[in-house]
């Protein structure tokens, strides 16, 4: 505490730092160890979610909302971690989530394992920066090795079987593996529908996810079009429209209002009647304009009152009101229509086209949705997820998102490594081998890095109910003996260790990112030797 609270030669205390009594401070190795402790605790929490036999966590938010998840990033962000280092790990898994979308659990487990190894080295008296230097060197070797063991998987618009397998690997650990094939196919189809294959760009905003509680998970489907969570404005309107021409409007069905505050004073009965007439005329005029351009369905961003509603019904114009902004946009993209801001601007070429528009009712509830299908442009798709309860629907959505990210990554870069921790084991062997050729202290750190990589297959085996040490040593020796780098932990107990035959793939960029990010974060944590925390008043 000497730096903050000091007494001078005459024993008088003097204050250097503002409100020093409210600050706590930790320095040196003590600080580093406290950080490692915190990080280990956090990573132990998500550890058991790793792999196809990993278990889920239930998280209850302060408001009582329940989330059940197997996704590392989701669990971490919901945990509301207070500790600073813990927060760093949360951000770590978040950035893996944002960048790659998958492998968020693995990265935290790896970072935790690295720190655990670092602790041992610190106990031996090795300078923290030497440790992180060693880790970095090892990481470089591991990443280079990943490139070497990676395989290119061929895919094309017609042959998506390999993409499908990768999506399956990602979905393996999730709750949806009941309908494994179906969800994997949905993920692949959705991405391929929106992907810009030339620029290798995938815009996730074109994929909408809708969930509805009820029904079975197997009822989930990919709709090549848009689902709008609304119903037709009048119950007597037709529920099924073929060859629809949609007018997409962003103006309300009412007499236009100037934005500048208008004021109309009515003094005589005649004037009042005129106003009424004007209103009616505008309505009729509007409907006429819609009819004239050939539209047979109206989607409106705003509402309209009962009078307009009944007029629409009279003129046999089914209408959907209060369609939200993003949905309007998707609808326009899907149907190749243009969003029209004024009735005057309506014309035939601005209408959107869709094969069918129908209103769907679910189960016994009164909930309905409007499904727009067979659209002119298939660039916008909607994933519709069903499930027994809200938690499952949410988790299914998250899982599907992860799987879609995997497919996206493969479109960007179609190199893969083998899952089931085959890549980790192979990297661990490579790092160990290189480490022996390093003459400085970094050798120790590099070996520790290899040990940390081993933690992934061990955890995987543990979660799958296999003896971890036995499994690891068996696979490792087999890899060296046979020289096949695709041997991994057989989590599903199929009797096959070769992940190539089991079709367990991970995108190369995902693995590469895991190693790099985890190493960088560990370096950052190891580099801190002084923590000054300003406690808030209530503590």
């Amino acid at each position: 505490m000497s730096a903050i609270y000091t007494t001078d030669e005459y024993g008088r205390p003097f204050i250097i730092v503002r409100e020093q009594d409210k600050k706590s401070r930790k320095t040196g190795i003590e600080a580093t160890k406290a950080h490692i402790m915190a990080a280990k605790t956090v990573s132990n929490i998500v550890r058991t979610s790793l792999g196809p036999r990993g278990l889920d966590k239930i998280l209850i938010s302060p408001d009582g909302d329940i989330t059940i998840s197997n996704d590392g990033a989701t669990i971490m962000s919901q945990m509301a971690i207070e500790n600073q280092i813990g927060k760093l790990l949360v951000e770590l898994s978040k950035s893996q989530d944002e960048e790659i979308g998958d492998g968020t659990t693995g990265i935290v487990v790896l970072a935790g394992a690295l720190l655990e190894q670092a602790e041992e080295l610190l106990d031996r008296g090795i300078h923290p920066i030497r440790i992180s230097d060693g880790f970095e060197r090892a990481c470089k070797i591991a990443v280079a090795h990943l490139d070497k063991v990676s395989d290119v998987i061929p895919w094309s618009k017609d042959d998506t079987s390999d993409l499908f397998k990768c999506a399956k690997t990602s979905l393996g650990s999730k709750i949806v593996n009941k309908c494994h094939d179906q969800f994997a196919q949905m993920a692949v189809d959705a991405i391929l529908a929106v992907a810009d294959l030339e620029r290798k760009d995938v815009d996730f905003e074109l994929i909408k996810m809708e969930g509805k509680v009820g029904g079975e998970m197997a009822d989930s489907a990919l709709v090549k079009g848009v689902i709008i969570d609304k119903d037709f404005s009048h119950p007597q309107m037709p529920k099924d429209i073929k060859d629809a021409k949609i007018a997409i409007l962003t103006c309300p069905f009412e007499p236009p209002k100037p934005k500048t505050k208008p004021k109309l004073e009515i003094t005589t009965v005649k004037e009042f009647e005129e106003l009424q007439k004007y209103e009616r005329d505008t309505f009729e005029n509007m409907i006429k304009q819609v009819k004239d351009c050939g539209a047979n369905v109206v989607a409106c961003q705003w509402g309209f009152d009962d009078e307009a509603n009944s007029l629409l019904l009279q003129h046999k114009l089914p209408a959907i009101r209060w369609v939200g902004g993003p949905e309007i946009e998707l609808l326009a993209i899907a149907t190749n229509g243009r969003i029209v801001p004024r009735f005057e601007d309506l014309s035939a070429e601005k209408l959107g086209a869709a094969g069918t528009i129908r209103e769907v009712t679910f189960g016994t509830t009164n909930e309905t949705m409007i499904v727009v299908e067979d659209c002119a442009n298939s660039k916008a798709v909607t994933v519709f997820v069903r499930g027994g309860n809200k938690m499952i629907v949410d988790e299914a959505k998250r899982s599907l998102h992860d799987a879609m990210c995997v497919v996206r990554n493969l479109i960007v870069d179609n190199r893969v490594v083998y899952g089931g921790a085959a890549a980790e084991i192979s990297c661990s062997i490579a790092v160990d081998k290189e480490a022996d050729q390093v003459s400085t202290i970094e050798q120790y750190a590099m070996r520790s890095f290899a040990r940390a990589l081993d933690a992934i297959p061990m955890t995987l085996a543990e979660n799958s109910g296999l003896p971890p040490i036995e499994t690891l040593s068996f696979v490792k020796s087999e890899q060296i003996k046979q020289g096949i780098t695709s041997l991994g932990v057989d989590c599903m107990d199929t009797g096959i260790n070769n992940m190539k035959e089991q079709f367990v793939f991970d995108p190369l960029i995902s693995k590469r990112q895991q190693y790099l990010l985890a190493t960088q974060l560990v370096k950052m944590i190891l580099k801190i030797d002084d923590v000054i925390v300003h406690k808030s008043d209530d503590q």
């Binding site: 001078d8 790659i100 815009d203 962003t250 100037p258 998707l330 029209v340 580099k527 801190i528 925390v533």
Partner: protein
Amino acid sequence: MAGRGPQVPMMQPQVIVLKEGTDTSQGVPQLLSNISACLAVCDTIRTTLGPRGMDKLIVDGQGRVTISNDGATIMKLLDVVQPAARTLVDIARAQDAEVGDGTTSVVLLAGELLKEVREFVEEGVSSQAIIRGVRRAAELAIARIGELAVTVDRADAAEARALLEKCAATSMSSKLIGSQKEFFTRMAVDAVLRLDQEQLDEGMIGIKKVPGGAMQDSLLVDGVAFKKSFSNAGFEQQPKSFDAPRIACLNVELELKAEKDNAEVRVDRVADYQAIVDAEWRIIFDKLDAILATGANVVLSRLPIGDLATQYFADRNVFCAGRVQKDDLDRVCEATGCRVQSTTTDLTAAHLGTCERFEERQIGGQRFNLFRGCPEAKTCTIVLRGGAEQFIDEVERSLHDSIMVVRRAVKSHSVVAGGGAIEMELSRYLRDAARRIEGKQQLIIAAVAKALEVVPRQLCENAGFDTTDFITQLRARHAQDPDRFRWYGVDIEEEAVTDLFAKFVWEPALVKINAIASAAEAACLVLSVDETVSSQKSQDPMPAGRPMPGR
């Protein structure tokens, strides 16, 4: 202490000179206590120096976390209140503003100067004499740097670039990005060289942070990049890439809205109603038509672009982005040569800018608008990636330091060796010089010479080397043959005493000159103070309604 009055005979009433509650202390004790305070602050940042220096994690009152190795940043966040110690904070900040690097060493040096002269203060040497000595020593040292500094030939472009890269690398080695030195030095040098070489305005280097990805995934865009702003419905129907776009930059709100907030229109007849509505639409359509008439196909505005305008543009295959940050827009102008227009009347094709390619692209989890291949590219953007926000923040600070160093080095081409070599050489020089000076000055200058050794000493200490061994070796080398061993310093990589100039551990001479000058100034300032008068913090003014005392 209740005010301070002159010493007066017992019977007379005490004369109150200062307001009640004013704290004063004076004389040598005060001076010593100030020095202790400075030393205490120094101790905090001591361990951050050098390639094996550690970082500090600071959590402030609002719970914001900063992890940093940068002296100026740490000093600022420490929130020092002791007045003498604050001078150290100020010199760190000044060093940051002036040269951008060496902020830790300047504080360390100032602290060490104070530590070395402290015993003279205790022995009762007049502080004025000490100050004179310190100033003299600083002058000598600075003059010596001038003699020693090696000037690199400007004419040879490759050589000049190598110089810049080496300077940037030295500044970076102590930072989190130290292991990716090569990658980031190239980026820093490229960024600076892209600027207008006359002005070197670092504001023209945009730094964007995108969480996710490894730091190796950071990239330098030879133009402008900024995050996609909020967009209205219809945006996704706009085209997202252009070759040779025509860019219009506006400061106009493109939205259907009331022209004046509190205006009111009185309508006499129902028929007029429609006329007003039409008039309002015409206002916005006139604006949109004017923009379109110039042939622009990328429209940027600082103010919002409403859904109507978005859809209008989407209809006509024009890309638009509203609410673009001011500095981004400025850099777009700088890069593409367009002018920001505050009105759409008189908008002509001459106001438009262009570049080779515009596109919207996914970077990490965000969509970015990229303008590349700009004709007047006096600007560039660095997109930083990293695993956590604090991580990227620290990378940004480190990169900023290097950019500043490079900027400085572009102007002055003289360099010295880092790693404590120059300090060791100055220390030897001052020690020799001191012997030729008579009087108290000799002692003071020798003390300054000793203080300069703090840099190599701390480097060793942070790296876990045997400090005494290294320092004595260095002293011996420098004394044996000042010319041959001139650039010998602590080589962290090799764990030995070697010629660092040959190892390309270079720093701009300016950084060192500035560091020594400011450290000496700060030390002199602290030494010249012999009394602190701090008036008591004014308390809350008397709560209302409370009766005034005495009545």
